[in-house]
């Protein structure tokens, strides 16, 4: 365990989502596993999430979600940063690009993870474009000259999604998330405004949400059950390659990532070494 605890000492990971809960949903368990083994992980949201509710909104909602993100990050053992762009209005502008370049540089990131450019939400797609646009620029001293460029290009990765065109998600690394699922669920439980209000409302099941804290956790597990199982089911082959058939059979929850063609291009073995096992 002590060896494990240090395995990722010095590794810096930044996940860049569009909203405060994107990174936690897609990769909360991997984030927690990295953090518990010494990596410094930051979960960043480009928007403040101020449109993600059916009743509240604006600054009041943004403040609430920022506090939720902090609580959630504490549970995962990571750092949280929420930029202040408006929810639903993210565009791949030079302004957002510069903020992303600065965020990656100031975190000294070795790994950057973001959505793919063909996810369903425009904010997700543009978050992806902006991160791709930063992938080379983090090295260029004349771009954002107020911060020194990175010496080594980070590895850029994508979160999974289910969209097929122009190309489906194709995982390059998969992580057994089972050991950190409790933490992931509790980190999501900290985001009341989303897990127990907005998402059930948009899914037309608000009246199913329990009031009692313990029942809520059970509801949360049920709500996300298929979603959290899906990577383990769909990418069983990759899971078997990385963990062997015996362990792969027992994996209930997995988180998968695809390598972006921009940025550092590690060999598969090198890539797998960088991710929690």
């Amino acid at each position: 365990m002590s060896e494990n605890a240090k395995k990722f000492e010095g590794l810096k990971v930044i996940m860049i989502g569009a909203h405060p809960d994107d990174c936690e949903l897609k990769a909360g368990a991997t984030a927690a596993l990295w953090a518990s083994q010494g990596a410094s992980v930051r979960l960043m949201s480009l928007t403040n999430g101020d449109a993600g509710h059916h009743i509240s909104g604006g600054g009041a909602l943004a403040r609430r979600r920022m506090q939720e993100s902090e609580r959630s990050a504490e549970i995962l053992g990571v750092s949280s940063l929420v930029l202040d762009y408006h929810d639903g209005e993210l565009t791949p502008s030079l302004e957002v690009r510069r903020d992303v370049i600065r965020a990656i540089r100031s975190w000294q990131a070795d790994i950057v993870i973001s959505p793919r450019p063909n996810d369903y939400h425009p904010d997700h797609r543009y978050a992806s474009m902006v991160v791709a646009d930063a992938a080379y620029m983090v090295l260029v001293p004349n771009v954002c000259p107020d911060l020194p460029p990175l010496e080594a290009n980070p590895v850029f990765m994508y979160f999974p999604d289910h969209f097929r065109k122009p190309a489906p998600f194709s995982p390059d690394v998969i992580v057994d998330a089972t050991p950190a699922m409790e933490k992931k669920i509790r980190s999501l439980d900290a985001m009341d405004s989303q897990m127990y209000e907005w998402l059930p409302w948009i899914d037309r099941q608000l009246d199913e949400v329990p009031v009692e804290p313990e029942q809520r956790i059970e509801y949360l597990k049920k709500f996300w059950k298929d979603h959290f199982h899906s990577s383990a089911n769909e990418f069983k082959d990759l899971l078997t390659q990385r963990y062997g058939a015996e362990r792969a059979d027992q994996v209930n929850y997995a988180e998968a990532f695809e390598l972006c063609e921009y940025g550092c291009q590690p060999e598969r073995n090198e890539l797998w070494e960088m991710f929690p096992y």
């Binding site: 791949p92 502008s93 030079l94 690009r97 791709a132 646009d133 992938a135 080379y136 620029m137 090295l139 260029v140 001293p141 004349n142 771009v143 000259p145 122009p166 190309a167 063609e261 921009y262």
Partner: protein, 267 residues
């Protein structure tokens, strides 16, 4: 015939298509190389207007070696986005040159300026024929053929060589043209690659080193698209070819048949 190449930076068109440009120019085709950005971020210790001026001088020298015309649209390096302003500048440039062929990057190259240059070319591909767009510059009567430079990215789909040009016999001129771009070939690019220590000090040594520095890329381009070369030149010339430049036909704009397309490119 008139050809315009829309590179994102001063050196992109020369690097991807310098050999083809030489051959066209030698056969009487009017070729213009446009740098959408002035390249004012492409250096480890210089920048801004001073660097843009230096790169403009290098590019004009390089264009003289190739026998082509050169100009820049002067947008900032690292700041090319698919805005209406860039689009209109590109529409006017294509119209002013009365281009029959327009060539730019694919929209999935590694550099955001390359990707957005590709998008802007696509955005211009229909509008160059629309009189109410940029009404200050007469529209083109005939939609040009739009083509992409080669790149090696696979997603969402890999580059397809619709036409390949054997440039082995003009490689010396292509290298001579690139050799004019000191700020890039001997300073910025090797610095970025961690190879700045290898660069010789003297002009002759540099010119020699440039070939060893660039050759692996150029050889790979040919190896990866030898089939396209074989279609056009026959198996035996294709098998012996060392250096080629390939281009993909864009789906927007004029769609020539394969034979027509091959006729438009130099042999």
């Amino acid at each position: 015939m008139r050809v315009i190449m829309l590179g994102a930076h001063p050196d992109d068109s020369e690097y991807y298509a310098g050999g083809t440009a030489v051959k066209w120019a030698a056969s009487g085709v009017d070729v213009q190389i446009i740098a959408i950005s002035g390249g004012d971020a492409g250096h480890q210790s210089e920048g801004g207007g001073a660097l843009a001026r230096r790169r403009a001088e290098e590019s004009v020298r390089s264009a003289n070696v190739l026998g082509v015309s050169w100009r820049t649209l002067d947008f900032h390096d690292g700041g090319v986005i698919p805005s209406l302003e860039v689009r209109e500048a590109v529409i006017r440039a294509i119209r002013d040159w009365r281009a029959d062929i327009v060539i730019s990057h694919r929209p999935n190259d590694y550099h955001p300026d390359h990707r957005y240059a590709g998008m802007v070319m696509q955005d211009a591909a229909y509008l160059v024929a629309v009189p109410n767009i940029c009404p200050d510059t007469p529209r083109l009567e005939k939609n040009p053929v739009f083509m992409y430079f080669l790149d090696e990215f696979q997603r969402p789909y890999p580059f397809r060589a619709d036409v390949a040009v054997d440039v082995g016999d003009v490689m010396k001129t292509k290298y001579d043209a690139l050799h004019q771009m000191d700020s890039q070939m001997y300073e910025w690019l090797p610095w970025m690659d961690g190879r700045i220590d290898e660069v010789p000090d003297d002009d002759e040594g540099r010119r020699k080193w440039l070939e060893t520095y660039m050759e692996p890329d150029f050889l790979r381009w040919t190896d990866n698209h030898r089939d396209a070369l074989a279609g056009r030149y026959g198996d035996s010339q294709a098998a012996g070819a060392k250096f080629s430049e390939s281009f993909e036909l864009c789906e927007y704009g004029h769609q020539p048949s394969r034979d027509q397309l091959w006729e438009m490119f130099p042999r």
